[in-house]
Amino acid sequence: MKTRFYPHTFAYLLPHIWRVLCKGACTVGFPFGEAKLPSGYRGVVKIKPELCRGCGLCVRDCPAFGIELEREGRDKFRLIYYPDRCAYCSQCETSCNFGAIYQVNEFVPATDRPDELRVVLVDRWPEEDSTADEDQTD
């Protein structure tokens, strides 16, 4: 390509920066105001516990092993979600045959304690065992 020479281009951006200056900043107000996340954003994994049957399809397909199923017998199980392993890919939502597991448009709040990043999604474990675990997660 031939090198062309444009004398006016020594301050080529000048009109641009003046336009921007007149228009004002396009920054979001986030840390001082509300975060506006789009409705379809794949954020935290939530569950409708009444629909979950503990079939383990989500556990099988999760690429990051972010969901664990602790099971004993047919009706006694506990579904645990780890936000710090999750890949936020919504594969669990696709895999779930009962429409129980889904993602909402919220990001996971930052934390300084990694052991807090353990969420019991479904708890169908008899009372006496589960209380100790619940205290830990809260």
Partner: protein, 308 residues
């Protein structure tokens, strides 16, 4: 007592310190607005300065400890001494016939100590940055000095206050020597190592140049020296090129002076926004093949006009 007040408060140390902070903030804010951002809040330079002062002071093994502590102080002292002779709104701490030359000399001390601090550090980036700063010094200094000598030649004096007075009798230096003003501005950008001539401290090439190995108090002092150098350099150019406040005769002198200084600062910010960083050989070409002949031409033209 008056002398002490002038030395420490106005237009001495405190005034310069606060102007440096203000100029730094205005600069960052204006650049941010040109880039469609919001920019930092007004207290940002203070927070940066205090934080750096309170940070741990690490010195890498192999570096010369005494020199490392002395050089930022030397730069700061040179800038502060230069500031004594630069009038702010007509008020200077001291002045004598020939103070312009002294100011120009003192303003080149920071460049030398910048080079030296790169030289005494052990890091590769520091050494390369220091070498680059010296090369840059040789490229911009000649046109810068010649551009500043022209107003002095025109008014027939080396005293800054007299040059201002001469402009009061005739017209602004900016109107009489527009070319000289542009050359002086480019030279100032090179002197302050601002974008687009931040070659010695280009982030993507030499990390932070000579200051790569420093943290804590030394870095804070270096930043302060650089910011104060910006203030003094801009004040000097205001005096030499738009020194007279005749056009704003009804206003007090000091705010007018401040406004003019801020206008020059915005020009510098615009230069930072408009151009990509030059390479060091491109800067040398620019300095010696374009700026220096132009400055010479302008100087000769000035002498010819005086001769008429």
């Amino acid at each position: 007592m008056v002398i002490l007040f002038r030395l420490l408060v106005f237009p001495g140390f405190l005034f310069l310190f606060f102007s440096a902070m203000l100029f730094d903030w205005v600069d960052r804010r204006v650049i941010a607005r040109f880039q469609e951002r919001v920019g930092p809040p007004w207290y940002q330079p203070f927070a940066d300065f205090v934080k750096l002062l309170a940070k741990e002071d690490v010195l890498s093994t192999g570096a010369h400890a005494t020199a490392a502590s002395l050089l930022p102080v030397a730069a700061l002292v040179a800038v502060l001494t230069a500031a004594l002779y630069v009038p702010v709104g007509g008020i200077a701490v001291a002045s004598f016939e020939g103070d312009l030359i002294l100011v120009l000399f003192l303003l080149s001390v920071p460049a030398i100590s910048y080079f030296l601090v790169g030289w005494i550090s052990v890091g590769v980036y520091s050494v390369i940055g220091g070498n680059r700063s010296l090369l840059q010094y040789f490229s911009y200094e000649v046109p810068f000095l010649m551009a500043l000598a022209a107003p002095a030649a025109l008014s027939g004096t080396w005293s800054i206050a007299r040059i201002v007075a001469y402009q009061g009798q005739t017209s602004w230096g900016l109107l009489m020597q527009p070319l000289g003003f542009i050359l002086a501005m480019i030279g100032l950008v090179g002197k302050l190592k601002r974008d687009p001539l931040d070659i010695p401290k280009a982030k993507s090439e030499v990390i932070a140049g000579p200051l790569t190995e420093f943290s804590g108090r030394k870095l804070a002092l270096w930043h302060l020296a650089m910011e104060m150098q910006t203030v003094v350099g801009i004040f000097l150019l205001v005096n030499l090129f738009v020194g007279d406040s005749r056009f704003f005769g009804w206003l007090p002198q000091l705010p007018v002076f401040g406004l003019k200084a801020l206008a020059l600062l915005v020009l510098l910010s615009m230069a930072a926004v408009l151009y990509a960083r030059l390479r060091i050989d491109q800067l040398a070409d620019l300095g010696w093949k374009i700026l220096a002949p132009l400055a010479l031409l302008q100087f000769v033209a000035t002498l010819w006009i005086i001769g008429l």
